[in-house]
Point group: C2
Chain length 235, copies 2
DNA sequence: GTTTGTGAAAGGATTCACAGCA
DNA sequence: TGCTGTGAATCCTTTCACAAAC
């Protein structure tokens, strides 16, 4: 193992860890860079990129510096080069297989969402517990019964599971995914999933975001009436 | 104005600002507390609540302390009381009117999502630019043309706009919302919106979360092969 | 002149640990 | 005894500011 690490380290100076806050922004940079590439731009400065994603240029530079030293002083960054390095850092070149459980409205939206496949994710299967939905054709995939979950995971080498079921069945689906060997789960159901150590869960809660917005809207309304001191707005 | 502040301040000791990280967790606490209330629990300790939402008890206590001192030492917190205080802090008692633009699959999912209405949001209107979708009945609401946007906002006192359109039309819809007077926007389209100062935008990007998951999955795969040092997993 | 890469400083958030109260 | 509320310490993130490189 030691020589493998050594070999990598001499090939390119690898940092041990990219900060979590940076990881969360890399996909945003990536999308902006894809747009730039399509529009024909070949280079971009940290200042211009910051403008596109909303933030400061110093933050952009520090973020990108965690991937390596891929900029040119006085010039900026090569768009294509950055796309490559960010994609690799995010593991998007791996072509992960994803299984999506629950094809209600949200599941439909996710299955048809170009952002998944265009970033190298391969939807290996769509599953649903509702027999009336099984067999339906969505985005070129036929919906299979959840009973197939185990088989699907083993057959297709799925590493990421997406849960878009109602809250009530999410934990059960999660348990089955974990039992089948899935170690990364993206959860859209409005529950906090309990998972064993070694399983990574991320949650997207549509209502949470609206409530955060409500907080700020409320603050603004209150400060307008003078009930609380005015606060800055993260516009 | 001064006496209003005074009156409020003596009624309950108001802190000037709740940290952003805390605000982001309040909706999560709120959901857990609603579940607890339904199951008949009347009190909950910070330790037990931490268990439910995933986190440490000290964090829970510090978060709740920003709302005021509503716990009882040796006992815990009153579930109903916490629900009330968190709801008020988040402005959920205001009954905000929300306008949803774009009723594709995602828009359908959002319109039918119970988490919105059950938290006090009122969907004032559904809008879509596609004439074939206008007139459709979704969750008891008839879809109206985007041309009505201005009228809808003015008539119904909308304060929050939700954008669930394709990326291409999101900025235009955003501009129209802002022009009509909307100051809070929840954006599901995969673009960074440009807004004037004083407008609050929050973004939910379905693909971003998947890419963050991919990063960790990739890290795990690499560390298994010894190419990079092992990293902890935020399970 | 322009723009990167990065130490240093500043600002937040989390965790620790315990005094204080029921 | 049990649990909250909170200063103090620690850790993480952002911002500043400037030397080095083009």
């Amino acid at each position: 193992m030691t020589e493998q690490v050594r070999a990598r380290e001499t090939a390119r100076p690898r940092r041990t860890g990219v900060p979590e806050a940076t990881v969360a922004r890399l996909p945003v940079y990536l999308r902006a860079l894809h747009v730039l590439a399509e529009s024909g731009s070949t280079t971009i400065s940290s200042e211009a990129l910051a403008q596109l994603v909303g933030g400061g240029s110093a933050k952009v530079r520090k973020d990108l510096s965690h991937l390596g030293s891929y900029g040119t002083r006085g010039v900026g960054y090569q768009v294509e080069e950055l796309v490559f390095h960010i994609s690799r850092e995010l593991g998007l070149t791996q072509g992960w297989a994803v299984v999506l459980v629950g094809v209600g409205n949200l599941g439909h939206a996710l299955a048809g969402y170009g952002g998944f496949t265009s970033r190298g994710f391969r939807i290996a299967a769509l599953l649903d517990s509702d027999p009336t939905r099984v067999g339906e054709l969505i985005a070129g995939q036929r919906v299979r019964p959840v009973a197939d979950l185990d088989a699907v995971v083993r057959e297709t080498g799925v590493s990421i599971g997406v849960i878009a079921t109602p809250g009530g069945s999410a934990q059960e689906v999660c348990d089955r995914l974990v039992a089948a060997g899935v170690t990364s789960i993206l959860n859209f159901a409005p529950v906090v999933l309990q998972v064993p150590d070694g399983v990574d869960v991320r949650k997207v809660d549509l209502a949470v975001e609206l409530q955060i917005l409500s907080f700020h809207q409320n603050r603004r309304a209150l400060s307008a009436t003078g009930l609380v001191p005015a606060q800055g707005i993260s516009a």
